[in-house]
């Protein structure tokens, strides 16, 4: 076990290094001179000589005068230290800048977990148990439609229904502009703004997850131990919820890893549509503003996150399923 973890960690380091070289080469192939972008606003009210001096300072400050290898290692160590670079649009360090969006994204995603699981797990189990009935095939078709519809189409539809036709919710934003009040009131206002994106997020997750639960449940129900349990004369309820469902939960670990990453990365489409100030919107804004340091730092972050997530997934498989041997 210990040896396995150690080996996996070493492998993570190797993959991370390969990934970081790729990301760094992407970063370097970005068109435009970051040093010029940094001092851009000053050009108009400066003498050419002063501007040149400032430009040289900026080059030095960004380390652009050093060889590429040195630049790479400086960048790598800075990233590892948590210094993700300097956002040219926000004029502040990336780490400082992404604090609020990260909080917003985590909030939106964590809140969506509960309703999603509360709906999909019972529905998935019910369709698996009543397999090939009219109920099952209806749910199957509905869930196909559910997961085939593009996120933004659902988002547009929900905006149209619940913000334009029936003005219950605000169309977009995180907070009512200019609102000041007690923390409780601010929180309620945020929840009110979160309602519609949350609704869309839950709705879009239902289809795929219900089908996944159904598939794993059918797999579990076809096992020999289910026949044994039934032969023992256990009630159907015990067979389904105690014997089958627990085993069906094991493949769920994979899904959970996906969730783990998306909690931090957020949904680009939903955040863009609802102008929700989260990580997805930060990436879009950064790319629109040619602020590549931010977006690539974030890709780096996701890479680490998913590598760690995959390790955790494998380890938890080992814990959850005694048949899985880690080596």
């Amino acid at each position: 076990m210990f040896k396995y973890v150690l080996r996996r960690l070493m492998y993570i380091v190797v993959v991370f290094l390969i990934g970081s070289v790729l990301i760094f080469s992407l970063y370097k192939s970005v068109p435009g001179d970051p040093a010029r972008l940094m001092i851009e606003g000053n050009k108009a009210n400066m003498k050419p000589a002063e501007y040149e001096a400032l430009y040289r300072d900026a080059v030095k400050k960004l380390g652009l005068d050093k060889p590429l290898v040195v630049q790479y290692f400086t960048w790598l160590f800075n990233t590892l230290r948590g210094d993700f670079g300097y956002s040219l649009t926000y004029k502040m360090p990336v780490r400082q800048m992404i604090g609020v969006p990260m909080k917003n994204t985590i909030m939106l995603n964590v809140w969506s977990l509960l309703p999603v699981f509360a709906i999909t797990i019972p529905l998935g189990i019910a369709t698996a148990v009543r397999r090939n009935t009219r109920f099952d095939s209806t749910v199957q078709v509905i869930t196909i439609i559910g997961y085939s519809l593009p996120f933004f189409v659902i988002a547009l539809l929900f905006i149209f229904l619940f913000a334009v036709k029936l003005p219950i919710f605000p169309i977009s934003g995180v907070q009512t502009p200019g609102l000041r009040g007690t923390p409780g009131r601010m929180f309620l206002d945020k929840l009110y703004h979160m309602a519609l994106p949350l609704l869309v997020m839950v709705f879009t997750s239902l289809g795929g997850l219900t089908r996944y639960v159904r598939a794993t449940m059918i797999e579990a129900l076809s096992m020999d131990y289910i026949r044994t349990a039934r032969a023992k004369g256990l009630t159907e309820k015990v067979v389904i919820y105690s014997h089958a469902f627990r085993n069906a939960l094991i493949p769920f670990i994979t899904i959970m890893t996906g969730w783990f990453i998306s909690i931090f990365s957020g949904s680009v489409v939903i955040e863009r549509t609802f102008l929700w100030n989260g990580m997805g919107k930060v990436i879009i804004d950064a790319l629109n503003q040619q602020d590549f340091a931010v977006s690539l730092a974030m890709v780096m972050f996701y890479l680490v996150l998913s590598l760690v997530g995959n390790l955790l997934m494998d380890l938890s498989y080992g814990l959850a399923d005694p048949r899985v041997k880690l080596n």
Binding site: I144, Y147, L156, V268, F292
Partner: protein, 598 residues
């Protein structure tokens, strides 16, 4: 030997798919025969109604977006601000029945029309804004009416002017000078109105910031006719001279000198002017585009009147027939067979001709099936071409990812060991980074330095390059299972090369599973492409895809007022992905005997 039952080979399945169901009568013996796996799959598939519905829906969409654009070609460069955000309708020339056989004056506006019958009653039709619906008092007897961009002007029998519709830019403020004069002609133009009095004076009011129409002092009082387009106006004086009313030097100013003093009629398109002289000849000058200079030869010397739309001319000949030439994007020069015509009126893309019995004949733009977008482009045409782009990108992206996925998956599964370890870790890394952000970054970095066509291929490659891991993993799993089977051992023992074993012996055994996966990832690729385009990182304007048609539609104005701009692309995209997924899901169930609970 017995006839092979239908559906026993893969080709048969495809044939039945595309050519329809061919019933073969089988004897009892044949029906009792063991079915081939393909036949079982096909039967399972056909019995699932949702799968068949998906296939038919997808085929319908596929045929529509690949065949219909031949008949409705898209001109990506075309824009027309006068047609922007118009709702789906075909009523632009659906004049009131009461006008037929009884018309005194008729005119077309941008997306509507106005007319006056011989009894002095005023009518209007087409797409009418809330302001346009407030028509002037009905107790007056009207003699002439004119429609503009979003307002209309009418003249009553007392020579008084009435205006309704858009009332901004002082359009509703009729000059006080007109109250003491008798007006004989009114024009509603592009946010301006022009009145010509019996005394030959021209008065202009409206948005003078947009168009300024100066009237030369020395000519004031001599005019007999005035016409206007969206930038300037032209007038004919009593001694048949032509005057361009513009404060700037434009191509319109170069009036052919030989026609001065002989001009009988004139009209203006957006970039060119046409005049008819007293001897019936037609002269065109200004910008030569859309073939406005190609005057039909038989019309020369016989023309008595000319009228112009946004880019085309219509001329009335002395025998009562009508010819048209110039831009033909909305069939505005396809004149039906007409005779005994006494007057013609063309404006924007509509044409009205009135014969001597007062009957109205129309041709040109009736309206738009799905409305227009913010640049005045026909959404239906964009939807068709956009669908073709979306489907093509999705298909090619899947092909790219299939090639990569199958090769990597096969090698990984067959060789195992270090190769497997390395390739699968690679797949893990590609799979690990959230898809859309990575695709967006690649598109933003690479896309800034290539052309728009290159951009479309780049999107395909990016989608293909990021999409292969799931397929590679699937192929690997299948090959791992097949590798240990006897036929592989036999093939190895016979000394067949490893490449041949992988791609000729093992791969055909797992191809059905791969096909199902490809179908599902085709839908996924389309979703990714449209998401990228929706976010502004995929295919950009002026090229159309279903995703970028929805770009900027999350706006309350667009959502509520211009619903057709998001409803139609959203429906098309959703129907397409739903149908592909239904078919793919049916295929998966059909090839997996375990999933059929019988």
């Amino acid at each position: 030997m017995a006839k092979k039952p239908l559906g026993s080979t893969f080709t048969d399945v495809l044939k039945t798919f595309f050519l329809g169901r061919q019933r073969a009568t089988l004897s009892i013996l044949e029906e009792e025969q063991v079915q081939s796996p393909y036949r079982t799959m096909f039967r399972n598939f056909r019995e699932k109604w949702s799968a068949m519905l998906g296939v038919y829906m997808f085929l319908a969409i596929f045929l529509a977006v690949f065949i219909l654009p031949i008949f409705f070609p898209l001109d990506t460069q075309f824009q027309d601000p006068t047609q922007q955000n118009t709702r789906p309708t075909f009523s632009y020339m659906k004049y009131d029945k009461a006008l037929q056989g009884n018309v005194a004056s008729i005119d077309g506006g941008s997306v509507f029309g106005v007319g006056v019958d011989r009894d002095g009653k005023l009518y209007q039709w087409g797409t009418l804004s809330a302001k346009l619906q407030k028509m002037p008092p009905t107790d007056k007897r009207y003699v002439q009416a004119s429609a503009g961009l979003d307002h209309a002007v009418a003249l009553d029998a007392d020579g008084k002017v009435h205006t309704w519709g858009n009332d901004r830019f002082t359009l509703n403020m009729i000059p006080p000078e007109l109250s003491s004069r008798k007006v004989k002609q009114v024009i509603a133009g592009h946010q301006i109105s022009i009145a010509l009095t019996e005394g030959g004076e021209i008065y202009v009011w409206g948005n003078s910031n947009l168009i300024s129409i100066p009237v030369p002092k020395d000519k004031q009082g001599t005019f007999t006719k005035v016409v206007a387009n969206t930038t300037l106006a032209a007038a004919i004086t009593g001694n048949n001279e032509l005057v361009i009313l513009s404060s700037r030097e434009t191509p319109f100013s170069y009036i052919p000198s030989e026609i001065q003093g002989r001009v009988r009629d004139v009209d203006l398109t957006e970039r060119s002017a046409a005049a008819v002289t007293t001897d019936g000849r037609i002269y065109v000058w200004g910008g030569n585009d859309y073939g406005v200079m190609d005057i039909p030869a038989h019309a020369q010397g016989r023309a008595i009147a000319v009228s112009a739309g946004r880019g085309h001319f219509v001329a009335l000949l002395d025998d009562g027939s009508v010819v048209a030439w110039g831009r033909n994007n909305y069939k505005q020069t396809n004149v039906p067979k007409l005779k005994n015509i006494v007057s013609i009126q063309s404006s924007y893309y509509q044409n009205y001709a009135v014969d001597k019995n007062g009957r109205i004949h129309t041709w040109g733009l009736k309206g738009y099936l799905m409305g227009t977008d913010q640049y005045g482009r026909d959404l239906f045409v964009r939807l068709l071409t956009g669908g073709r782009v979306t489907l093509t990108i999705g298909a090619l992206a899947v092909i790219i990812s299939a090639i990569i996925g199958i090769i990597i998956g096969s090698f990984s599964g067959y060789y195992g060991g270090k190769t497997d370890m390395f390739l699968m870790r690679l797949a893990e890394v590609v799979n690990a980074i959230p898809f859309l952000p990575l695709a967006m970054i690649l598109s933003a970095i690479i896309g800034s330095r290539i052309s728009e066509t290159g951009r479309i291929s780049m999107i395909m490659v990016i989608l293909g390059l990021l999409n292969w891991p799931s397929l590679a993993r699937l192929v690997r799993g299948q090959i791992l299972a097949a590798r240990e089977q006897e036929f592989v051992t036999a093939a190895k023992a016979m000394g067949i090369t490893e490449m041949k074993i992988i791609f000729k012996h093992i791969l055909p055994n797992v191809i059905t599973v791969v096909l199902v996966n490809l179908t599902l990832s085709f839908a996924l690729s389309m979703l990714y492409e449209s998401s990228l385009s929706y976010l502004g990182f995929g295919v950009n304007e002026p090229n159309a895809t279903w995703g970028n048609m929805l770009y900027g539609c999350n706006d309350s104005t667009v959502m509520s007022l211009y619903w057709w701009r998001w409803v139609f692309p959203a429906i098309a995209l959703s129907l397409c992905t739903v149908s592909i997924n239904m078919a793919g899901d049916g295929m998966r169930d059909a090839i997996d005997p375990k999933s059929i609970g019988r």
